[in-house]
Symmetry: C2
Subunit: 131 residues, 2 copies
DNA sequence: ATGGGTGCAAATCCTTTGCATCTGC
DNA sequence: GCAGATGCAAAGGATTTGCACCCAT
């Protein structure tokens, strides 16, 4: 698929990403894209990734600005504000039947030891602030 | 609660973390702990956090080594290997009823826009490798 | 000639490590 | 004294930014 709004570099990044099912890191993408566009720089790859994400064409997984700590080691879900970055506990956890978790883990070939549900959206403050 | 295996610095970090319901970052913890132990250094805070985590007394949230990218913007769950760091798609997604998600989001005061289920464990390779 | 896109290098942010010093036993 | 813990500073890895340059318009 081609997108007229993308220049050659951006198209190359998108093509490589679409062809790679392994959720590459920026570094891995950079190395692959260089086969096609040898002069591209890391900074450009990052700029393009942000731009593609902005346009909703790709998704970032596991970007966390910094690590947070929690003295409550019991299982509970977390809500993350996409606007201010707040990380909140979810009082009314989502309940997922054990056998569904196991089935999902099995489908990925994973020996399950834990899981986490993350809810993304805007927290109360941010919702009120911008009506 | 006091733990005899902890020294004064570690106890101070744990106390502060237990008193702070906001999932502080290491930086925030450091600043608070300094009120009690003015000479403590950042490195010590990190060392203690690792140690506490090792002992299962605290939990890290949202630690990701690096950011990964995905051209599939549709909703799907992810499985993360705690041993090798592999990030896999989960073919048989966990299904959570919409109204349960909304109820959970509401309990946290969050305007829900997206969610993610993360399964943690050992991937097939790692499971086989160390039987 | 003008503006956006680019590469490079330097800067930044969070975290870890090396190392000399300090501490309690 | 000795082993472990500590502070400081430097290193490290991922990402971002500043800036001069280049190219198509």
């Amino acid at each position: 698929m081609q997108d007229k709004t993308l220049n050659a570099n951006a198209q190359a990044v998108l093509d490589v990403l679409r062809a790679d099912m392994h959720h590459p890191t920026a570094q891995e993408l950079y190395e692959q894209v260089r086969h096609v566009r040898p002069h591209i720089g890391m900074a450009t790859v990052y700029r393009i990734l942000h731009q593609l994400k902005e346009q909703g064409m790709i998704r970032e997984i596991g970007r966390d600005l910094e690590c947070r700590y929690d003295a409550d080691t019991g299982h509970h879900d977390h809500a993350i504000c996409t606007q201010c970055g707040a990380l909140l506990d979810v009082p009314a956890d989502v309940r997922i039947p054990q056998e569904q978790l196991l089935r999902a883990a099995q489908s990925a070939g994973m020996e399950l030891s834990d899981y986490e549900v993350r809810l993304y959206g805007r927290c109360r403050q941010c919702t009120q602030q911008y009506h």
